[in-house]
């Protein structure tokens, strides 16, 4: 480290400080590791049972709800047991249209329209893989809206997006 300029040292001390782990992040990791154990066991013991297994959605939002279904048309290249059906829900009483955009649909506002289910509640079901999902709502084709009940991130392009986490469900 002889080439290090000493003026950098105080800045490096700040960078070297280890951030504290958030309990919710460690809990998600623990769930993912348990799911990995379960997957390994299914591979060994009961391959057909793996096809029927679902994946749980753990979201940080009350507006992003868990729902599990058996999948009829798995995403190409992704095993059925690694997908889940998740429901996006937004309350927008005066909206004429609502769609959800995210990594899962290439941020295409036409790909996933929500359906009005009454009393200003809009919803849609999307099949997703485990991991972080980034998304936002588009109201009336013009209003970019982060999920009011989810963690919001500011993208480097200056628009807020919401984030939720999908973790595999433990085997029954």
């Amino acid at each position: 480290m002889s080439e290090l300029d000493p003026r950098l040292e105080p800045w490096l001390a700040a960078l070297r400080k280890e951030p504290l782990a958030r309990p919710e992040a460690r809990a998600r990791l623990a769930a993912a590791l348990r799911a990995e154990d379960a997957r390994a066991a299914r591979r060994i013991l009961s391959p057909p049972a793996a096809l029927a297994a679902g994946i749980a959605l753990v979201a940080l939002t009350s507006a992003f709800w868990l729902a599990l279904w058996r999948l009829d048309t798995p995403e190409r290249g992704v095993a059925a047991e690694e997908l889940t059906s998740a429901q996006f829900v937004l309350h927008a009483r005066d909206a004429r249209s609502v769609s959800v955009v995210g990594d899962f649909n290439d941020w295409d506002p036409r790909a996933t329209p929500l359906t009005r289910t009454g009393d200003g509640v809009w919803s849609a079901v999307v099949q997703l893989r485990p991991g972080t999902v980034r998304y936002a709502y588009l109201v009336d084709g013009t209003e970019w809206r982060a999920d009011p009940h989810a963690v919001t991130l500011h993208e480097d392009f200056g628009r807020p997006t919401s984030v939720a986490y999908i973790v595999p469900q433990e085997a029954p």
């Binding site: 950098l8 960078l15 280890e18 782990a21 990791l29 991130l153 500011h154 993208e155």
Partner: protein, 183 residues
């Protein structure tokens, strides 16, 4: 303290608690590297989780890395690279869509900025973010994770001389940004 090699041996024998001990030992360093690399805590937590699940799977299948910590950081680094690629794609798609919208009618709901990297001096964060990804990862591996150049070469796939060059360039750039107002 139980040595990494012994914990790895126990994981390979099916002891899940031994892997928890490895996670307790290294989670902070993994999160630090990923957070400094990606700039967002949520992205970093996701990359670290993906990496640790891969590490667990590899150990359970009998993989025995010679040096655990650099091997682990290499896997975190790969997950971070993958996140950067995804973010770049998201930005391109968003901008393509955004360009088609009428700015007079488009509204964006304000948000509170939760999840941003709040633990670093904004000046330092800006200087890190301004680095090209390969310069940033070399700088962090050398001066924050304090790996040897040979270890860095093994996990990045770059030569030692290339890495030395990247670290030097990154250091010069960071220092210039941090001192430009006080010079």
């Amino acid at each position: 303290m139980i040595a990494d090699e012994e914990l790895i041996r126990r994981v390979q024998a099916g002891d899940a608690a031994a892997f928890d001990a490895l996670v307790d030992r290294y989670y902070g360093a993994c999160l630090r590297f990923a957070w400094r690399s990606l700039g967002q805590r949520e992205d970093a937590e996701d990359a670290v989780q993906e990496a640790l699940v891969r590490v667990y799977r590899a150990l359970r299948r009998g993989r025995s890395p010679r040096h655990f910590r650099p091997w682990l950081l290499g896997i975190v680094l790969n997950r971070c690279r993958s996140h950067v690629q995804r973010a770049r794609r998201r930005r391109l798609l968003f901008e393509r869509w955004w360009a088609r919208q009428d700015p007079e009618t488009l509204r964006v709901q304000p948000a509170d900025g939760a999840g941003a990297d709040g633990d670093l001096d904004p000046k330092l964060k800006t200087a890190l973010a301004a680095l090209r990804p390969k310069l940033r990862e070399a700088f962090l591996l050398k001066y924050v994770e304090q790996l040897h150049y040979e270890e860095m070469a093994e996990i990045t796939g770059a030569s030692v001389s290339a890495l030395k060059m990247r670290v030097k360039r990154a250091s010069d750039q960071v220092l210039a940004m941090l001192t430009e107002d006080t010079a």
